[in-house]
Point group: C2
Chain length 427, copies 2
């Protein structure tokens, strides 16, 4: 089925500010609380949020096989379960409806009143109930930087890294949408030279600039997903900040991996940009440095050119962009990640979230964590206002943004913005 929603020439009758991440070619999906305190599924064009529940009730999705309440839910999980064909039909219909040439809704003031909201009238929610969350470790620059700092600069990559899209299970319950603040975590840390750990606030709180993809129901227990089919099960992507506490991590992570150093919070941008919308921005992944096993070999362009940046904004100060990187630097792509994740028969469900791992680029200004940007605190990062940073300080806000651009269009993810509060104190 043709993705007519992607037509770069299409104009909309809704206002779209210059350089908006949300032209009519984007049509992302999210969940929001309306001014009437109703939770609904919606999309966004420019700075207008569109209530898909109301649109559906008004009959605008006639002919598309959807249950009556599919958009009147507090998560996208059921809609995502409907599968790629349905997502396309819905996105194509939305594109038609808001096309400047279409008058059906455009000239219906009463319907517009029910369906359209200004962005400042609504409150974005978590778009899915995350069943399982997996975090990969798929940027070769990030893995090399970490290996150089903590192990051996001459053998920075571990022996399995070039063979396996290394990943681990993360905690779903602490995934939060943009705007929700996070407390600096308490945890065990081993003071330098000490034999015994102490409990205290993490002093090395860090962001990790990542993206995450969200899946639909893909396979049954026991059944691997072939790499050529993997993209059929990817609904879309969000920006992902995998908050990390480096001192807690160092003490706890051998032998079973990071645990409390990560599970205090991970923040996501609230609009899921569909894989369909990203179609024009396909690009090659880096060339494999070693031959990969057959189940990880793919044809065609499986990566996407998504420009990413991260900024730090101290309280009441201007923000400073501290890194610029790109999703295309990922050594292992999403299809490889999904093929690997299921090679053992592990089931993947609607609403599962898979993080890329920190996305670092080849140059020091393209590293995706403070650990790397400040080289574990040895080279503090200068901010325009508010001093230097080795790691994140209390009341700093970390903002990740991402967008795609070609000669015809620009579309993006908006942002994930999260403030770090001091340690939680019981009232």
């Amino acid at each position: 089925m043709k993705i007519t929603a992607n037509d770069p020439k299409r104009q909309t009758w809704l206002p779209v500010p210059d350089k908006s991440d949300f032209p009519i070619q984007n049509i992302p999906f999210g969940v929001f609380l309306t001014r009437d305190d109703v939770i609904t599924i919606g999309t966004r064009i420019g700075d207008t949020a569109i209530d898909l529940g109301a649109l559906h009730q008004l009959g605008y999705f006639e002919g598309i096989p959807l249950t009556d309440d599919i958009f009147l839910q507090d998560t996208l999980n059921d809609f995502i379960s409907d599968g790629k064909k349905t997502w396309r039909l819905v996105r194509n219909r939305i594109a038609e409806l808001f096309d400047v040439k279409d008058k059906s809704l455009q000239n219906h003031d009463e319907h517009k009143e029910r369906v359209l909201f200004a962005m400042d009238e609504i409150e974005m929610q978590l778009p899915v109930q995350v069943g399982d969350y997996t975090d990969f470790y798929s940027s070769i620059e990030h893995a090399t930087n970490v290996g150089t700092m903590f192990r051996d600069p001459d053998n920075a990559l571990l022996p399995n890294w070039l063979h396996i899209p290394v990943g681990y299970h993360g905690r779903s319950s602490s995934i939060i949408p943009s705007g929700i603040p996070v407390h600096r975590p308490l945890g065990q840390k081993l003071p330098k030279g000490a034999d015994n750990p102490k409990l205290g606030p993490s002093r090395l709180v860090d962001f990790e600039l990542e993206m995450a993809f969200i899946t639909t129901d893909a396979n049954h227990l026991g059944e691997p997903i072939p790499i050529d089919e993997a993209e059929d099960y990817i609904f879309g992507l969000v920006l992902f900040n995998d908050w990390s506490a480096r001192d807690i991590q160092k003490w706890e992570y051998v032998p079973l991996g990071p645990f409390l150093a990560k599970s205090f919070a991970s923040s996501i941008s609230p609009w899921i940009v569909t894989l369909d919308a990203l179609e024009p921005f396909r690009t090659d992944s880096p060339k494999p440095l070693k031959k990969q096993l057959e189940y990880l070999q793919y044809k065609g362009k499986k990566s996407f050119d998504i420009k990413l940046q991260v900024a730090i904004q101290p309280e009441d100060k201007v923000e400073t962009v501290v890194a610029n990187t790109n999703f295309k630097y990922m050594y292992w792509n999403m299809s490889q990640q999904l093929a690997h994740h299921t090679i053992n028969g592990c089931p993947v469900n609607s609403g599962d979230m898979m993080g890329s791992g920190t996305i670092s680029g080849p140059t020091p200004d393209s590293y995706g964590s403070m650990l790397e940007l400040s080289w574990r605190g040895e080279k503090p990062v200068k901010l325009k206002e508010g001093g230097d940073r080795k790691f994140i300080e209390d009341n700093d806000t970390v903002i990740i943004r991402g967008y795609c651009e070609n000669k015809d269009i620009r579309l993006g993810f908006g942002e994930v913005s999260t403030k770090l509060l001091p340690v939680f104190k019981k009232q």
Copy 2:
């Protein structure tokens, strides 16, 4: 509130076979499909399954604050969210109703027809939708055995082990109830002496004898659970078989921990035995070998005396019990695990599952995995029928059982029984 359901003197009017795990003092909770193809929440006395949805509709829970549909659901999550007070009221009421002295239901044939099922008329389901699943590593004997085998017999425990209830995030989507078979997983393994891995069936499939506890909604993002309150948030326990593929694990697990070596399946017993029911079997945990940080210090008996065994049954052969162990051997108890899990503010929700880690005892016949029982294959385990075993072979069924016993009563968990099928082949 008194747990009157635990009265050891109480007799029931339902038949209870000798040595049953399900006397009227147990009253576990589960979810089953009835002979009429209806999913309901239920309990079990002897070999009779009791439909709590029907009991509630018939008014037998009058006076207890329950929503009308609380038991007419396909998971226990909402009931568990109702909290400990409600669980107690319901268990106490069920005990009264099936007390031999109570005639209300006993003499009502029409109601009994609607409420009671023989065990072979029903099909047990997964009792909860598992939001997040965490697996600990809390048996000192198991950690010591693994450290001795793979690292250094003189320093078998890693430096953090005596300070941290070490744990890691697991995969929820592959948690299955007893009776569902599992395919031998495919995965990457590094052949001995080779530089590059191969893809193939795991040759070292293992069980891990564990128990898992199931939580209710406990805390908000940022808010630790004090150790003295931890038990308030534990609904109950199940038997847990954390299937493991040792060859896949060895190649993948550094540095981020086990991933596909575990996520192909974990099986649980279908009846959740409440923490309340286990009250008479409280016992001391092992004495700490090192002073523990204050947030991990507790008063009273926080462990439970639960006898555990694991058996292997080759196809069409008799089973052989290969190990006997006990939940009380756990060095870190559930209260410590939950206090540690939330010290960083990680939210715990209704339906979360926390595995103990392999429970090994002090003697070679009390080890909780084939890895330990066969000492990584060096000492094959003799079966009564079907040959020796270093690890689990195709079409073997692994059965874990557990029960508590004192001079007054015996109650138990039933079993988790899982057959290992050959590698999945696409039809």
